[in-house]
Symmetry: C2
Subunit: 124 residues, 2 copies
Amino acid sequence: MAWDLDNDRPIYAQLIERIQMQIVSGQYEPGERLPSVRELAAVAAVNPNTMQKAFAELERNGLVITQRTNGRTVTADAERIQKLRNELAQERVNAFLVEMKELGFDADEALELLRKSEREKTVE
Amino acid sequence: MAWDLDNDRPIYAQLIERIQMQIVSGQYEPGERLPSVRELAAVAAVNPNTMQKAFAELERNGLVITQRTNGRTVTADAERIQKLRNELAQERVNAFLVEMKELGFDADEALELLRKSEREKTVE
DNA sequence: CCTGTTGTATTGTCTACATAATACAATAAT
DNA sequence: ATTATTGTATTATGTAGACAATACAACAGG
């Protein structure tokens, strides 16, 4: 199943975000072996070069470790992963509040919309 | 003051979003005359062609009206603008919940983070 | 009538991104 | 030792986006 990629943003950037997400959400455990570049490229239906570019960035950030001829693993530093997860969450929260403010909703109104949306979803 | 544009997404797309935002948030009133392409391009510090492309899209969506040689105005249809505002807000709310879920936070936890972020801001 | 401003179109150039097609060195597996 | 798999690098090609530099027709304002 090819990954659901937006074509309004660089693919490699979306790959980075997606893999990062899979790591911080625990889909890949700390220290777990990752699929090879070619393998993941095939799964995501992108060019291996593009996947390679994404991994290079993830490695620069220290989130994945590369063993030259034996694939890659997620960093074993679970604390680091948790920290990243919290940072990402905080970013989303702040971005959301800014966007809603731009739309003319203050924090209370934004909260109210969220509760409403939640209620409607739990009904489904 | 050049607009704050991300270089990780097409500029014209960001211009569309920004102008749309200025309209639905009331910075431009319904029926109000908009700055010329060249003028806004200069303000935003982008190429006039790029601004033109953004306006063409906004016109296709019916949000702005073009008078061939006398500039553009915001649509006078205030109801349409309000509807768009609500749609955009709903989109943001849903996107936020999805993102937080991907990060492993359920709706209640997301709400809690939002409240916390709000409290910290009001303290400042 | 003239001039400046309007939206709009065109042509060329540059860059970033993505793909395709290979290639190579290192090493795990056999 | 051989083979397959790993990450990595290279070269070429195509496309989208952004910019620069003009150009033109339509019209508002003088």
